[in-house]
């Protein structure tokens, strides 16, 4: 039976603590100005409430990744379980993947002069652990799912504030935030 790993981001549970990004940075020993996961507050035009809602985004491990297609050096590979892996040792730092990914997942490491991105902690997955961001999330807003068996009618692929790219078919799924229970003036 095939597997396609993906992140499920429950925007209703996310409190914007950015613990996911910190755990990612800590586990992957990222450079000070480097992030592989970033939390974006939803614009008030999308979520017009005093309470805020957030998108926590890293690499979406697309079905047909733009980064992999754009990379001239063949530094990207896709595992059978759907994880898009970037091999930094063969990267020539052309930044074509950064220009090509509509979600801004690959970032340029100015010190090492190569691109980097979320690996979905495949080393941890292979060891039977969950990704660092998933493990760190205090509210359970981030979970790891297998898209081949995932069945949640409330999950959406393209929430507002997230570019729809059907050709790339990003794997991340989202639960939309509900209206605040208490409306404050």
């Amino acid at each position: 039976m095939s597997t396609r790993y993906a992140f499920l981001m429950d925007m209703d549970k996310c409190i914007g603590c950015r613990g996911c990004g910190m755990a990612c940075k800590n586990f992957n020993q990222l450079a000070p100005d480097m992030v592989w996961r970033q939390v974006y507050p939803l614009d008030e035009r999308i979520y017009p409430h005093r309470d805020r809602a957030f998108l926590s985004l890293a690499c979406n491990h697309c079905d047909d990744p733009a980064c992999l297609a754009a990379c001239p050096a063949g530094s990207y590979t896709k595992r059978p379980d759907g994880i898009v892996v970037h091999h930094q040792e063969t990267c020539i730092g052309c930044t074509n993947c950064i220009r090509s990914c509509p979600y801004g997942a690959p970032r340029f490491n100015k010190v090492e002069k190569h691109a980097e991105k979320c690996s979905l902690c495949h080393e941890r997955l292979d060891a039977g652990l969950t990704p660092a961001c998933v493990q760190a999330c205090p509210t359970g807003a981030l979970t790891l799912i297998d898209l081949d068996t995932f069945d949640n009618a409330n999950a959406v692929q393209y929430p507002a504030g997230y570019p729809a790219m059907p050709r790339l078919n990003p794997s991340t799924r989202f639960i939309l935030p509900r209206m605040p229970r208490v409306l404050r003036g």
Partner: protein, 249 residues
């Protein structure tokens, strides 16, 4: 905002090389007079200078040759291959100027390089230019520069300059009626001093051409500087979808 100067010089210089090669090939096949070797050599030098400029864009320029690894899927790899072929054919044409058998393959390789370049710089993440616009811009840049330095009569130059000006004035207006990212791109291009300065220089080349009634290098210099300024805008003011995450698209 990143200006991507190596890519600015790479694209404009290689398009100058392609334009010169097209002009030289046209003269070889349809012109009466002999094509001077220096025209082919100028095309070769401009293309090589562009390729050297592209190396400054890489984080690991010494491993630039591995950019050919992705020929099966990457337009950037194909760009590297086609430009390598173009340089070789330009060298052949420079060694045997005035012969259609060397001029035509060089011109065809130049056209192929333009097409591949048009695809390379039209990623899905830049909605405003993820279409035929880069190809159109690059082709018109190559033609204006090629006719400015390579044509003997001003007619073709005036026509290509007019087309380039029309495209550059109309396209941002089309973006303004598109998605939020395209609208922001239109606004940034319109606010860009470099964009307007590039247009003014291009228009000045047209005026000079009309006044002097000849194709002169001075017009070519104006067009080259104008192309550089517009290209800086192309790379720095075209909005990426990732900058809008969390905001309406």
């Amino acid at each position: 905002m990143t200006y991507e100067f190596p890519l600015v010089f790479f694209t404009v210089l290689t398009q100058l090389g392609i334009g010169l090669a097209l002009a030289a090939a046209w003269k070889t096949c349809f012109g009466g007079a002999a094509v001077p070797r220096r025209l082919w050599l100028a095309a070769l030098v401009a293309t090589l200078a562009g390729l050297v400029a592209s190396l400054f864009h890489l984080g690991a320029p010494l491993r630039a040759v591995t950019a050919l690894n992705g020929l099966g899927h990457s337009w950037l790899s194909r760009e590297g291959l086609v430009f390598g072929l173009f340089v070789l054919l330009l060298l052949l044409a420079a060694l045997r100027p005035g012969r259609a058998v060397t001029a035509l393959p060089a011109a065809l390789a130049g056209l192929a390089a333009l097409v591949v370049q048009g695809f390379t710089y039209a990623p899905v993440s830049l909605p405003a230019v993820s279409n035929g616009f880069p190809l159109l811009l690059f082709a018109l840049t190559a033609l204006t520069l090629g006719t400015a330095f390579g044509a003997e009569t001003p007619g073709p130059q005036r026509l290509t300059i007019c087309l380039l000006l029309v495209v550059l004035l109309i396209v941002p207006c089309l973006w303004a009626s598109g998605s939020a990212v395209m609208q922001e791109t239109a606004a940034l291009w319109r606010q860009s001093a470099g964009f307007w300065a590039g247009l003014v220089l291009t228009a000045a080349a047209l005026v000079l051409s009309l006044v002097r009634r000849t194709a002169a290098p001075a017009q070519g210099v104006l067009l080259f500087c104008g192309a550089l300024l517009v290209r800086v805008t192309f790379f720095s003011a075209t909005v990426h979808t990732a900058t809008h995450l969390g905001m309406p698209y």
